[in-house]
């Protein structure tokens, strides 16, 4: 029983420009903490956590850290394979990270069409606490996300705001998908049976 549970059910990749806080986001989600001036540079190459979906089924979410690959786009593509969801991050206090967003998303869609994309605006606490100025207006983000029909959340890995919500919605939607696929394949199977009978 246990061995079966070990398997990762939902593979998630986290991408985005350098220093937008990809590793911190993972750290917050997995360990529920935040390290100011992180002593660790690279964090875990792979981490996993079990979440329960809205419908009550449990899923193991596995996350691949892509930090360090930002400039080597052909290499990043290797990480996309079979990913069910991708969190594309930008730093709301850094305009150029927002400008990089589009290329990340189009690349993802090119390689893994069926991968669900989530946009994550990071470092919300810096704006909320007035430490840094927001360089990317929320309106603009929402408009863009609506346009490409993608969910957008602004998170803070420092306070944890919206981090669980982000991963929760990934699990919920993936589980929902599974049930839709299961239903349609069941239907297909039934259709086949009927045809066989005749």
């Amino acid at each position: 029983m246990k061995t079966h549970n070990n398997r990762v059910d939902i593979k998630v990749v986290i991408v985005g420009n350098m220093s937008v806080g990809k590793t911190s986001l993972i750290q917050r989600f997995i360990h529920e903490n935040f390290k100011e001036n992180m002593n660790e540079t690279i964090g875990a190459a792979f981490s996993a956590k079990e979440l329960t979906s809205m419908s009550g089924s449990k899923r193991i979410v596995g996350i691949w850290d892509t930090a360090g690959t930002e400039r080597y786009r052909s290499m990043v593509k290797m990480f996309y394979r079979d990913a069910k969801a991708a969190i594309v991050c930008f730093d709301i206090t850094n305009k150029s990270s927002w400008e990089g967003l589009r290329s990340w998303i189009s690349e993802l869609r090119e390689v893994e069409e069926n991968c669900k994309v989530y946009i994550c605006g990071t470092k919300k606490d810096l704006v909320d606490e007035g430490i840094s100025e927001r360089e990317v207006p929320l309106e603009k983000c929402n408009e863009y996300a609506r346009g490409i029909q993608v969910k957008l959340l602004e998170t803070s890995s420092k306070t944890g705001e919206n981090v669980d919500e982000l991963f929760q919605s990934i699990v919920d939607e993936c589980v929902l998908d599974e049930s839709i696929i299961a239903k349609s394949s069941l239907q297909l199977a039934e259709n086949d049976k009927r045809r066989m009978c005749c």
Binding site: N6, N39, E40, I42, W64, F79
Partner: protein, 518 residues
Amino acid sequence: MEVKRERTMSMPPLSPSRRRSSIAAILAKMYFVGDDPGPSDGGVVTTNSPVNKRRVFMGQWLPPPLRKLSTPKVEKNQPAERPPLKKTPSDKRFKSPTSESKPADDTGGQNGDEADEEVLELPPPMKPISEPLLVPNTEDAQAQREQHSEKTSQVTPVKSPPEPPPPPPPPLESAELSLQKRKYVIQELIDTERDYVRDLSLVVEGYMELMRDPERPVPMPDDLRGGRDKMVFGNIEAIYEWHRDSFLKALERCCEHPEELGSLFKRYERKLRMYVIYCQNKPKSEYIVSDFENYFEDLRQKLGHKLQICDLLIKPVQRVMKYQLLLNNICKYTERAGLTSETDALRQDIAVLQVVLKAANDMMDVGRLQGFDGKITAQGKLLLHGTLLCSEGTSTANFKGKELVVFLFEQTIIFSEAVGKKTQFTNPVYIYKAHIQVNKMSLDEITSRDKDDYSNEPFIIRSTDPKKPGTSYACLPAPELRSEWLSNLRNILQTQRDFLKAIQSPIQYQNKLTKDPT
């Protein structure tokens, strides 16, 4: 502030200097490769790079006069060909004394370290013993050492061009604190290296061993036998053995002797190049793994592993990417601690890594090339690749090109067509159309028309091979890339001409070289 610095670091440019290879190497290659590329082996290479092997061969193949002239030729040619590149490193050297003098007051104690480090640069102390598989004979080891000195000169210009190293940041914290922080990062480097070696062992001593087991505890599908089973793993075994036997130990020593870290990656550049080959094979490996998903799942259950095979096979890609992050941090703290020469050595390490990563990144695309009969690993380094507008034939009137993906290797130029943007696997596959070996290639540039601006004029690459007279393409790169393509092509052809001169009348050629040292 940290953020800024990372962003401003530029991609290692595809500097032409990296492509500069000595006549000797070219001679050796040409002798070795012959007229047509050999049969494909599917791109799996588990040993050293072909270039190194050929270098070894050279000594036995060439008549003595040629062997001799190859050396002065290189030294002579470099400054003449590319003065700006030569300049930059020396600029840097001028800079270092000033930065050295800066923190002089609080680093009295560390000068000793720097001196130690200088001494350490000389011979890699324990390498030859620990790599029996990869260094089969002493000749090879010799070639390896040669390679190192050659690489040194190749890497420096790549590292320095566009921006000089950022000025040392104002001392935010005491040297002691910086050293303490550096220690943490070094410890992290070592700890994660141990994890990595363990992960690799899961592949090599887990999957590979199980699949080789003559008893076949899990029956292998027939389709997977006879080569494809090996393509799944590429050269991961060689990577594993190197990390386990050499690199981890070298890193562990750095815990007590952090000054040894600088230049460590540079010393092992040739080994790090194994990652280029690994990445090149990775798309094929992925394809096979997904074809035999059930089989690998059975193996996983038998092994009792938590991770699936594809999660383990991505580890090398992940790891080689992380080194630069760790080194950047180590370098930052070393600089803050005022250890100038160690900082410089670390910067060179980072440059080496960037060259390797860039090459791996480029070769990933080569891995998607299908239908080329030759051995892709025997075509020399990939100098340039990209999409050009091309049309067959030599006419440039009413030029209407079609987008072709063109790969320019040291020995061959390959034209291919991107097909099937979205497959289940890594997207576009490049279908081979034609290739021209550079020793049978000519380049026509249009200069006769009354125009000031040629940037929209295609150039023509033509085969001079009597066996395939019709092969020619008019090519038009994007305007911003035009000069890069042209200068690469011109360089290659010039090297060819030099080579011809040398081989036709070696004595005159050599005399000319010795008489005309300017």
